[in-house]
């Protein structure tokens, strides 16, 4: 469980105001829309074909103890975004140091 770290708002003149809480995936950083009052345990997932939302059970990594998106959950390994960035930045520093 985790409290929301973000907030989204859709203002449409023809429709009621839409408000959503969001959290960040602990592995890839993706913005995850969550159902209100569920302590981030129910995700709202966009169906790209129908352009509609549906509910899915949330996912939680018990290695880094963070909520993760469904794609990272399906991937099945823990690689927090901080570690991914450290590896990317170290590789970049090495490339620049050797003139690549």
């Amino acid at each position: 469980m985790r409290s929301a770290t973000g907030y989204a708002q859709v203002v449409d003149p023809d429709r009621p105001l839409v408000e959503r809480d969001t959290i960040g995936c602990g592995h890839c950083g993706r913005v995850i829309f969550v159902k209100p009052d569920t302590a981030s345990t129910v995700y709202l997932v966009l169906n790209r074909q129908a352009l509609r939302w549906h509910e899915e059970p949330g996912a939680f990594c018990r290695v880094c103890m963070r909520p993760v998106c469904l794609a990272c959950d399906a991937h099945g390994r823990c690689l927090p975004w901080e570690r991914q960035f450290e590896m990317s930045e170290a590789r970049d520093r090495l490339c620049r140091a050797v003139g690549l």
Binding site: A4, T5, G6, Y7, A8, Q9, V10, V11, D12, P13, D14, R15, T22, I23, G24, C28, G29, R30, V31, L46, R48, L51, R52, A71, W81, Q84, F85, S88, E89, R91, D92, C95, R96
Partner: protein
């Protein structure tokens, strides 16, 4: 950590990006997007849009846009931003950070606190692009507020 704002405009296209923001190629620094606005300033009409923010490992070729510091006392940012791409950014497959479906009349705003921000690494030319895979040919605008470490 200084804060900056940048506006990116483009006639929406299913194949061309609205714009991109990312780390400089020679002096890369991490950036954190904490406030994002998506919308269209075209005449009101009912058209569906899908906005997607996706990681990229090259910023492509575009018209440069200079992010403005929110505090005029801050130094200019090292980050690179661009719009009207002639060569698209190199997007990382499946690395979608945010996607939202909107009507053309609607405006979307997302804000985040520490721990929920969209971050790009201090790796040369790595960044985040804004694309509209579902869209109509009207002008859309993205306003991005970000902090640079």
């Amino acid at each position: 950590m200084a804060n900056y704002a940048v506006d990116l405009h483009r006639t929406a296209s299913t194949t061309l990006s609205v714009g991109v923001i990312g780390a400089d190629a020679t002096r890369p620094r991490r950036g954190e997007i904490y406030d994002l606005l998506l919308g269209s300033e075209a005449a009101a009409a009912d058209n569906p849009f899908l906005y997607v923010l996706q990681r990229c490992t090259a910023l492509g070729t575009s018209t440069g846009v200079v992010p403005q510091p929110l505090d005029p006392a801050d130094a200019a940012t090292e980050a690179d931003a661009g719009e009207n791409h002639t060569v698209e950014p190199t997007y990382t497959a499946a690395a979608i950070l945010l996607e939202i479906a909107l009507n053309q009349r609607a405006t979307f705003r997302w804000i985040a606190t520490e721990g929920g921000r969209l971050i790009y690494p201090a790796t040369a030319a790595n960044g985040i692009g804004v694309a509209t895979p579902t869209s109509s040919a009207v002008v859309v605008t993205t306003q991005i507020h970000f902090a640079e470490r």
